[in-house]
């Protein structure tokens, strides 16, 4: 039955692609939750545009993961028919939207990592990943620019906007360590030029983030204990609720299309 949960035959490359696909799908889904709720029409469109960019990236990555896996799983099966523990996204991207400040800060913290990630990935020895990267990099460059402008204005804005984004920074900071998570499986892909060494992105992420926070009159939290787990399918309590909404139609009406 098409709505039954699928099991993914996860080779290292399949897992590597799924991790990035899940980041894009879950953050794109979070942004879609803003539809009809944004503070102004201009940001309603900006949030939807960013969400659609991410869902487009997820589609390309899932399709490729399905080809590499070669078990007949298409993008929909991979997006909708796995269980919670089989999603490998960063904990950061599944965190609830909160207020506009929290959403923009989450976008900024992710884009400051994902933009240089995709830029580096353009040199991947895997031609499909390099092609996806070339498209994603342009999209993430804009997400970074747009979210950074808002971090600046909210931090350096009114007392209330400053307090809200400062709260968001405290709440989201423990999820930033996982951006640079690595394991032996990924290290092997790095060594053959398919994957990007996340450690090589740390300095550029730190410099983007610290420069923006400084300009926004926000003090970066001291680097303390960091949350991890999403990359191996161990999620925060918000994730089950997100999935139940994300998967609802596919689970209710198997193979629904429009």
């Amino acid at each position: 039955m098409a709505s039954a949960t699928i099991r993914v035959a996860a080779t290292p490359l399949v897992r590597y692609v799924l991790r990035r696909a899940d980041d894009a799908l879950i953050l794109g889904h979070r942004l879609s939750e803003w539809c009809g709720h944004a503070p102004i029409m201009e940001e309603e469109m900006a949030l939807a545009n960013m969400g659609l960019d991410l869902i487009g990236q997820a589609r390309a990555l899932y399709t490729y993961a399905g080809e590499v896996e070669a078990e007949g799983h298409d993008e929909d099966a991979l997006a909708y028919l796995r269980n919670e523990r089989d999603y490998l996204n960063l904990l950061l991207v599944e965190q609830p939207n909160g207020d506009f400040a929290a959403t923009m800060l989450r976008q900024f913290l992710y884009a400051a990592y994902a933009d240089p990630f995709w830029r580096a990935m353009m040199a991947s020895t895997d031609p499909t990943l390099a092609a996806i990267a070339a498209k994603a990099e342009k999209e993430l460059a804009y997400h970074l620019r747009h979210s950074a402008e808002w971090v600046l204005r909210l931090g350096d804005g009114t007392a209330e906007s400053h307090a809200r984004i400062a709260d968001a920074l405290t709440a989201l900071w423990p999820f930033t360590g996982e951006l640079f998570a690595n394991d032996a499986e990924e290290a092997a892909l790095v060594s053959v030029g398919i994957a990007v060494d996340p450690e090589s992105l740390r300095a550029i992420w730190q410099s983007t983030v610290s420069e923006t926070l400084l300009a926004a009159t926000l003090s970066g939290p001291a680097s303390g204990w960091m949350q991890a787990g999403g990359r191996n399918g161990v999620h925060s309590e918000h994730f089950g609720h997100l999935l139940s909404e994300l998967q609802y139609v596919q689970r209710l009406i198997p193979s629904a299309v429009w």
Binding site: I40, M41, E42, E43, M45, A46, N49, Y142, R145, H146, E149, R153
Partner: protein
């Protein structure tokens, strides 16, 4: 919602090289940087643009609709200003 913190901006898009920027619409934004980003997000979602201008609406000096008789009607009787009375010699070809 128009508020004093987000004035109105007019958006102009150039769709191709060689064409002029054309008025596309308006938006609300707190400052020029956000106005340009909002113009991108609102008006160029379907590949409409190669270049964008945003201009504060308050910077536009408009003609008064009350003056339209004086301003525009005198040209209505001057059809000789339209270049339809000139025969183009065949040797010129397509102009």
């Amino acid at each position: 919602m128009p508020t004093p913190n987000t004035p109105i901006w007019e958006v102009f898009i150039r769709s191709r090289n060689g064409l002029s920027h054309r008025h596309a619409g308006s938006l609300h934004a707190a400052d020029a940087t956000l106005a340009l980003q909002a113009a991108r997000d609102l008006y160029t979602r379907r590949g409409e643009g190669l270049s964008l201008w945003v201009v504060p609406s308050s910077a536009i000096i408009a003609s008064d609709p009350q003056d339209k008789g004086m301003m525009f009607e005198p040209t209505a009787s001057k059809i000789y200003r339209h270049p339809t009375f000139y025969e183009v010699p065949e040797e010129v070809g397509h102009m």
